[in-house]
């Protein structure tokens, strides 16, 4: 049963990150997940200073609040003309360094780093079950990640047209009366909630990778958003499944193996994509050459 829970959790994380990742890629904010993974350090330090404990609930709350603040600052800077990569870079380094300073000032003698108090480990998912009214409801991670995934599916599903237009052509969207800013903030909120919930369940690297790699892979394979979303989720889920078997075979880190498979799938798409792949481009170039001759 353990393998099943781990694969299911990995697939859910991959699907929810792959889904939101498509919108981030289109908005050139793919590294937002990485940014959040660093920026939440002051959140856990402040939560520790206020609560005096390293229990997961205060840590998670601190992280979630700072996660939201991070994406709001990024969005605000971007809105006022800062390039999106610069906005992300400035925000997360500033917040992370605030965290480092806080640690060195107040919590020198306490083992308080993100890996140790917040980031989960996908290997432990099967044992960390949720007890509700004396009943064993299965792994807690599944409920957390599954919950935010359903929430994002619902929000984006309800306003799909608006989100799509805001991603591709915000100027047109604004012109026809869509509250673009509101939808940007909404998307950022979803990203922040998803990443923090997933960090707590499966650790940082898997989440950061699944926000970028599957959607980048899908982007090579199609130019249509709804197909891209589907491919991205499928690539994510496939990485989770194949990655688990690699980890099992090599007795290695599970999150690491899943991420490596995602990278491999991207590389395959990069080479063999029918329209944007290296090989098809080479073939196309040759054809033009021959045509000219």
């Amino acid at each position: 049963m353990n393998s099943f829970w781990i694969i299911l959790t990995g697939s859910l994380v991959a699907a929810s990150c792959g889904f939101l990742g498509c919108f981030l890629i289109l908005r050139r904010m793919a590294m937002l997940g990485d940014a959040i993974s660093h920026a939440i350090l002051p959140g856990i330090v402040l939560a520790f200073l206020f609560s005096g404990s390293r229990e997961i609930l205060p840590m998670l709350m601190g992280a979630a609040i700072i996660g939201l603040i991070t994406v709001f600052i990024v969005q605000m800077l971007h809105q006022s003309g800062v390039k999106s990569d610069a906005a992300i870079g400035v925000t997360f380094t500033a917040l992370f360094s605030v965290g480092v300073v806080l640690v060195s000032l107040y919590t020198q003698q306490v083992d308080l780093d993100l890996d140790c108090v917040l980031y989960g480990e996908i290997a432990y998912v099967p044992w960390d079950t949720w007890q509700f009214g004396g009943m064993d409801m299965g792994p807690r991670a599944l409920w957390g990640v599954g919950g935010v995934f359903l929430f994002s599916l619902l929000i984006i599903g309800l306003f799909f047209k608006q989100f799509k237009l805001c991603a591709f052509d915000p100027a047109l969207a604004a012109a026809i009366g869509i509250p673009v800013v509101l939808f940007h903030y909404l998307l950022m909120t979803l990203v922040s909630l998803t990443t923090v919930a997933a960090f707590e369940s499966v650790g940082a690297i898997l989440v950061v990778a699944m926000l970028v790699v599957p959607s980048a892979t899908a982007y090579l394979l199609t130019d249509r958003l709804h197909i891209m979303l589907f491919i991205s989720m499928a690539v994510g889920v496939l990485s989770a499944i194949l990655g688990y078997f690699f980890a099992s075979w090599l007795d290695s880190s599970i999150a690491g193996a899943m991420t490596a498979v995602a990278g491999l799938l991207f590389f395959l798409a990069f080479l063999f994509s029918p329209r944007h792949g290296m090989i098809s481009k080479m073939v196309a170039r040759r054809k033009i050459h021959i045509g000219e001759a």
Binding site: M1, L8, R54, T107, Q109, F230
Partner: protein, 314 residues
């Protein structure tokens, strides 16, 4: 819009269902292997595994999760570790948050099988903690051999509670091991006392030696905080260099599970002030040496540290 939505939903549902069907079949088929009748014990660090091996003797088969040279703060579970935890009859860990988030998992597993922290016997007086957060004590208790003896007693009691049939063996093994540790404690005290008090200063990269310092009256100066992840400040380096120069301290030490870079900066800083400091050798801190080497067990590791320190400072 709604057509898109239903299409994803169908796709997603079939994906999830697909995985469910494929993997429901191939899980849960791990039949326990027939061993030599020994209990399967899983331990986190080498130090804990060592106690269990000594006390359990022939009645236990010990598996260790964190290998030689692995910093427990940075340990990542592998796929095989899931089975090592799952198939254990009883699990021992160090405790006091040394294993980080893993402890929460151990507490959950503790509902279905015995999962025991070896530091459970230690009282508030035994532990060192930053006055600002008394509830979060320093976990590096194994360098005070007298405290680690309490961990041995804890393992003995837990093994007896778990398997009363072999009580006599566990008691006898523990007795023997405790005697060896007592001798080691006396050896460390005598050796370190031979260094003049003014020079009995241990400078390392990571504050893992606070208990060692208290037990053997060695002043401990560190660069990093408790966690290997915390950064040291520029002032820390400066202050440390000044102390080295003022007190004519001859050597500083590097640790097996912490990078050497930070302590080398201190050596160079002292050299710039015309005081030559040597690197006194490598100390084992959060992990023991490779299995098979003399430092691959707890006794050898402590002896190595004591001899290295005495050799370099005397």
């Amino acid at each position: 819009m709604s057509t898109y939505f239903t299409r994803w939903k169908k796709g997603l549902l079939s994906l999830i269902l697909g995985t469910t069907l494929v993997f429901a079949g191939c899980s849960g088929s791990t039949a326990p292997e027939e061993g030599n009748g020994a209990w399967k014990v899983t331990a986190t660090t080498g130090m804990v595994a060592d106690i269990v091996k000594q006390v359990g003797g022939e009645h236990v088969e010990v598996t260790q999760l964190m290998g030689a040279g692995v910093d427990p703060h940075l340990y990542k579970a592998s796929e095989g570790d899931i089975k090592r935890i799952d198939q254990a009859d009883i699990i021992f860990y160090s405790g006091l948050h040394l294993e980080g988030k893993m402890v929460e998992i151990f507490e959950k597993i503790g509902k279905t099988k015995p999962v025991k922290p070896v530091t459970a016997k230690l009282t508030k007086e035994d532990l060192l903690a930053d006055p600002a957060s008394p509830d979060n004590p320093d976990p590096h208790v194994w360098f005070d051999v007298s405290l680690w003896m309490k961990a041995v007693e804890q393992v003995r009691d837990d093994l007896i509670a778990f398997d009363a049939a072999n009580q006599a063996d566990y008691s006898a093994n523990a007795e023997k091991y405790l005697a060896e540790l007592k001798e080691l404690d006396a050896y460390a005290k005598a050796q370190l006392a031979s260094i003049p008090k003014e020079q009995r200063v241990l400078v390392t990269a990571h504050d893992a030696f606070q208990y060692f310092g208290r037990a053997y009256e060695v002043e401990v100066l560190g660069l990093q905080g408790i966690s290997t992840a915390s950064e040291y400040g520029l002032k820390d380096v400066q202050k440390l260099v000044d102390t080295l120069v003022d007190r004519r301290i001859k050597a500083v030490f590097v640790e097996s599970s912490v990078p050497k870079r930070s302590i080398e900066a201190v050596v160079q800083g002292a050299a710039a002030k015309n005081h030559s400091v040597s690197i006194g050798g490598e100390l084992f801190s959060d992990a023991m040496g490779a299995p098979g080497t003399p430092e691959g067990n707890y006794l050898g590791m402590v002896k190595h540290n004591v001899d290295t320190i005495v050799g370099a400072l005397k």
